[in-house]
């Protein structure tokens, strides 16, 4: 069933009885060509592109809970292509291009809103670093504008320009940056994959990976064994556990990242604003809630919840940057489990086991990567060779030191990001 305004009209007039399931709930078959472990954003988009771009339809996505119940439905929805290191640059650029056609592609309104993202800077040194970033973005064919203090004031008049601990020197504006509705992205890909014949299997936890003679042969699940010629692991925060089922140790630590939303408010913040100095970023959802977050809680964790010190730090950053939001009330806070790599950049690669592939390490930035990652991972699984924009996301880069992508410059080793 195609979604459209007309369809909404006819359904509305006939009591909304005609809406069918967005996806089926099939029972798992005993064998698939390809099994994707993990029904988050990346798993669903991978399945979608396997079917759409490569005509592979005998595919199952196995999700231990409900589709989109992981990070894809917990993030702060920022979509941007403002990376500056080779590898990241081309990948996120490609991903953003996919975003720009996503509603059409999926026939689902994912509310991709290119409202513009502004990264603030607070010293000459930070300006220089952002200038490098902006120039790299333009080198890549994306967009960036360097704003001085007056330029920032024009866009964000509500910031404290006069009495703040870290005065605002300017900002890097990424006009094509913005937000999207996170759940809709998962659901849109799920529906698209389902309509192309992919089996989406919920409440199906993978508990083992079967390997014989160095080749993957299938998986064990809470709903029985499933044979497969190829298996893709796309489980974000759970990457360590699932890889361990195949005897692998990954360069990944799982950490909790918190996020916050306020009660609904009339429009007051029209951009995505990022205050790196205070580890704080914010945007306003279409419903009116201010959606914001900060840094990791900074301890390994699998609990989708955090503690007070980081919550308070985030609110403190908000108060120094934009004291007009003081009377907004936080309505809900939550956490997600982030698969942190040493250099803060992701992995899309083959493993040492034939037919077993892995896509992980998205850290706190994998929502914007959902289209690009699915596209590139599907390419890798289908064709057994890297898709060019994601070719640098190698699993062995830490071992070899080749192509490390440490955007923050804090170190290509754990717990420095």
């Amino acid at each position: 069933m195609r979604f459209s305004a007309l369809r909404l009209l006819t359904e509305g007039l006939t009591g909304n009885r005609g809406w069918g399931p967005h996806w089926r709930d099939p029972a798992p078959k005993s064998e698939y060509d390809i099994v994707i472990i993990g029904g988050g954003g990346h798993g669903l988009s991978t399945a979608y592109y396997l079917a759409k771009e490569h005509g592979l339809r005998n595919v199952a996505v196995l999700e231990k809970g409900y589709l989109g119940g992981g990070n894809v439905g917990r993030n702060t929805t920022i979509v941007r292509a403002n990376y500056f290191l080779p590898g990241n640059s081309e990948f996120y650029s490609h991903s953003l291009k996919l975003w720009e056609g996503l509603e059409d592609e999926l026939n689902y309104n994912v509310m991709h809103s290119q409202r513009g993202l502004i990264n603030l800077f607070h010293s000459d040194g930070q300006r220089d670093a952002f200038a490098r970033r902006g120039n790299a973005m333009i080198n890549q064919g994306d967009d960036a504008v360097l704003l001085d203090r007056a330029g920032v004031r024009k866009h964000l008049p509500y910031l404290d320009f006069d009495n703040t601990r870290f005065p605002i020197y300017g900002g890097l504006l990424h006009p094509r940056g913005g937000t999207a509705r996170h759940d809709a992205v998962a659901w849109g890909y799920a529906r698209g994959a389902d309509r192309r014949g992919v089996d989406l299997i919920q409440n199906c936890e993978v508990t083992g990976i079967d390997i014989s003679g160095g080749r993957v042969t299938g998986v064990q699940t809470t709903r029985g064994a499933i044979r497969a010629k190829k298996v893709g692991i796309v489980v974000a925060g759970r990457s360590g556990q699932v890889a361990a089922m195949a005897g692998m140790r990954l360069p990944v630590e799982s950490h909790v990242l918190q996020a916050f939303v306020t009660e609904g408010l009339k429009p007051c913040i029209d951009h995505v604003v990022s205050f790196g100095m205070g580890h704080f970023y914010i945007s306003q959802s279409d419903k009116g809630g201010l959606v914001f977050g900060g840094d990791l809680d900074f301890y390994a964790s699998y609990a989708a919840r955090g503690n007070l010190p980081m919550k308070e730090h985030v609110m403190e950053a908000a108060m120094t940057l934009m004291p007009m939001i003081g009377k907004a009330r936080v309505l809900r806070s939550w956490g997600g489990i982030m698969d942190m790599t040493p250099d803060g950049s992701p992995i899309i690669d083959k493993t040492g086991i034939d037919g077993l592939y892995i896509d992980c390490g998205w850290c706190y930035g994998g929502f914007k990567a959902v289209p690009g990652s699915g596209f590139s991972f599907a390419h890798l699984i289908a064709q057994d060779r890297h898709h060019a924009p994601a070719a640098k996301f190698r699993l062995d880069r830490f071992r070899t030191g080749v192509g490390l992508m440490d955007e923050e410059g804090t170190g290509a080793q754990h717990n420095l990001h």
């Binding site: 990954l250 390994a300 071992r399």
Partner: protein
């Protein structure tokens, strides 16, 4: 979250900083080879459950400690001074 510093007693999370898996106590010899170094610096068990990790009581006595805790429930079993654990090894 509160952690038990063996020197200062139980203190709030905000006094500590984190370094991750206590594997970092066991620095390989310079010639231990790529695998050993890769395992030391990058590869992690990343357990969902009991773990031993390194923290510094940075805004306190400065001690580096190894905390035994659960990454799922955040329950804390106890902590030891890193320096003493090394000596015991």
């Amino acid at each position: 979250m509160r952690l038990p510093c063996p020197i200062c007693g139980e203190r709030d999370l905000r006094e500590f900083s984190y370094l991750g898996d206590a594997v970092r106590l066991h620095r390989p010899a310079p010639d231990a080879g790529t695998d050993a170094w890769d395992a030391y610096l990058h590869l992690r068990d990343n357990p969902a459950g009991r773990t031993r990790d390194l923290w510094q009581h940075e805004a306190g006595c400065g001690a580096w400690i190894v905390v035994t805790r659960d990454t799922v429930s955040h329950a804390v079993e106890g902590a030891q001074l890193a320096a003493e654990m090394r000596d015991a090894d």
